[in-house]
Symmetry: C2
Subunit: 455 residues, 2 copies
């Protein structure tokens, strides 16, 4: 990119464009694995939708790649800089435009932090349901870009299920509106769903109308310890067979308990070899919790006492514990999903392959919807062969999930990192359709190229 | 279309192709308004996915329009024949391929009737939630084509929210799979959502993996009579403000009560000028119903006794009462949706415009999600000017819904009939994007041309 083009942009948007080394470094990556370390050529922080449109017109005129970024909390490298790219950070578009308590909707700018929206609507007895682990710092725009999930998805659905309408700046700077303010609406193709989860490759989302849900009257939490993972996984199926729908159903294996004990000084692992955390909510919360308790006790689980604060504390720990960064460790967190009945088979397969490849493994799962986050790691000091073994284990774990009817990504998105697996899941004809849809929206391929789809 | 082409098709698929006048007439229209009466050139009823693929290859080779049809219960003319078209009826693809009670999913062919799927999964304590009024005869394939809604949407979502994966035959006969068998999955663009509601214009859905929900333990139903519509609409908002989520929340105006009385010999209208039907379900059903009862009694409503069968009977009546076809009446049912807070203003506007245009009006609403079905009618014996007045009232009612932040179609789809209004709701840029997406999937424009989008 010519320096002149950048000068044009800086001059047109004083205070919005930075090329400082500090900013370039800070905005060059998200929290996902880095395929190739690249510095962007500039960071732009527009203050208005008009300014976003102007940046896109400029990018089209000068054929500059635009990597749109929320809080940079993504886990698949979707916001990683690519060669010659400009980072478009939407952090300054952070206004809650309106909350409509009777319509049970809110309109927000993309830079609004998930937790801030929840705080703003709580006074009306409402909540924004999707709750990725990053909810305290990730933005609604970023959540939309990745179709983010979270803990409460099994009951309340994922981001797409809470998004009614979008304002989108197209590659050429045109501003469009997709969807509808109403809960229901079937006019034309569902461009809102198409845009949700497209990771900034089809347009830049600058406004979001969300559907809000009712803050639950009552919340009950259970912690159930089992001897081992297979028994805990059987507990997940048993809750399902009792046809009770928890809001949260988290499954932690023994090594995860050990890791939590190590990080927090707790003694979880001494209680059992696997932990199932269950939260019910709403008018039926108490009855649902009782039904689940009966089921789990019947399976031999050690279940926390009614009303104990211990279980709530554990949910909080699960929610916020990302694991400490350890210098000497090369670690990759995965995000596959499998049909619920396959959870136990899948984790058995993971354990076998981790042992075979000599890599460490721990597993947590949003068990209510079969979404697993296995973490694999090796010591860096074991040398490059250890990292190779890790990569082999990762590849194998993804193939195994697919063989069991699963998907390569339950909620983190394909981003940059998982593109190598997308063709394992989807047929060439499907990949090709996506490429051609991308061309419809972005004929010059300037919107987050090299992400989300196989181009 | 050349007769030879048809001969080729008939010869290749003995027993699947009909050109009998009876079939051509029977399959020429759905239940929606007819824009232009057209006979198809043939009706094809394939018995396998292979056969669907062969028909599409044939259609591509001979440039023949394919109008895919489920049960023909659509209300927007989406399955109406167009000039030179072949009707592709999927009624013979009616197998439930599998029910997976632990995964809480089922795989069905498109011709499976909604009620039949529900009957098959009920023995496992499961249900398929989307319940359009036509559920006793409409097909899952047709429900997917229109992204059908129903009574339980406010709590359980629309068809899209229950569809996990699709098998789709593309215009050239290629078979693809979209989506995933898991509850969550974000690999690539959401082609499943794009296909859902696309009314047969992007591909032919030949397999559907649905997510099932739990049959509720308990169901409570209330019937609340109010003096007039505005008070009943205030009841809808009051239930929302109490942050109680009903499964069903149906609002009937006085003229609808009169019509039901006329058809069924009941005396509903004598109880009040407007009726709110409320159903709660799940573990909290009784407590939710009590909370709602308190709210509505506080507003002066006359609420049915706890456990009375009357309310259940009324829900059944509401569900199945489409109104008798009356020879001398020209009648059009509408399907707009508005934000919930606008229900009362919208119906007031409707009443004013009905009076001004001298047309009859009755209104029912899926009030929980602001989706209204006003019915306008005039006597045919009043002459062509009466029909013109009706059309004016319809146009005006749609403009009014849009002015209040609504949409032209909440759940029936654009089909053929509502295309004249689509441009009122969506900007030219959005219409253009849809046209170009259509071209990606169907470059020859053989898939249900003239439907769903503005081409």
């Amino acid at each position: 990119m010519q320096a002149e083009a950048l000068a044009v942009l800086s001059e047109a948007h004083p205070g919005a464009v930075s090329t400082s080394q500090e900013d370039l470094a800070m905005y060059s990556q998200d929290q996902g694995p880095v395929v190739e370390t690249v510095s962007p050529v500039a960071v732009v922080r527009p203050r208005s939708v008009d300014e976003v449109q102007a940046v896109l017109r400029w990018a089209t005129a000068h054929r500059v790649s635009i990597v749109t970024r929320g809080a940079g909390s993504g886990l698949s490298g979707g916001a990683n800089a690519t060669p010659g790219s400009v980072i478009l950070s939407l952090e300054r578009l952070n206004r809650i435009i309106s909350v409509d308590p009777d319509d049970e909707t809110a309109v927000v700018e993309p830079g609004v932090v998930n937790a801030d929206l929840n705080a703003a609507v709580a006074e009306y007895g409402l909540m924004y349901a999707p709750d990725p682990a990053s909810y305290r710092w990730s933005t609604i725009g970023g959540n939309v870009a990745t179709n983010a999930g979270g803990l409460r998805c099994a009951k309340y659905g994922v981001t797409r299920d809470s998004v009614l309408a979008l304002e989108v700046v197209l590659a050429d700077g045109t501003l469009i509106t997709t969807g509808h303010r109403t809960f229901k609406g079937v006019a034309g193709y569902d461009l809102t769903a198409l845009m949700t989860g497209s990771e900034g490759t089809l347009g830049v989302v600058v406004g979001i109308t969300v559907r809000l849900r009712y803050l639950p009257r009552d919340i009950r939490t259970l912690a159930a310890y089992f001897d081992d993972f297979p028994q805990a996984a059987a507990g997940v199926l048993a809750i399902g067979r009792a046809r009770v729908q928890p809001a949260i159903l988290e499954l932690l294996d023994g090594r995860t308990l050990e890791a939590l004990d190590g990080a927090h000084g707790s003694d979880l692992r001494s209680h059992g070899g696997s932990l199932l955390l269950v939260q019910t909510d709403g008018f039926g919360a108490a009855a649902e919790a009782q039904a689940i308790r009966d089921v789990l006790v019947g399976l031999g689980a050690q279940v926390s006492d009614e009303g104990s604060e211990e279980a709530d504390r554990l949910v909080d720990l699960r929610r916020h514990s990302r694991g400490d960064a350890v210098e000497d460790v090369y670690r990759v967190g995965e995000d596959v999903a499998v049909p619920k009945s396959q959870l136990v088979h899948y984790v058995a397969a993971l354990e076998t392959m981790a042992a075979r490849h000599g890599v460490h493994l721990k597993v947590v799962a949003h068990a209510g919807d079969g979404n697993l986050h296995p973490t694999f790691w090796v010591q860096r000091s074991d040398g490059p062969q250890a990292e190779e073994r890790l990569e082999q284990a990762l590849d194998e774990s993804v193939r195994s999930a697919l063989a069991l009817g699963g998907t390569i990504t339950g909620e983190h998105g394909v981003g940059q990192y998982k593109r190598r697996w997308l063709g394992w899941e989807q047929a060439v004809e499907v990949l090709d359709l996506q490429r051609r849809i991308k061309q419809v929206f972005d004929p010059l391929d300037i919107l987050n190229p090299g992400k989300a789809i196989v181009s």
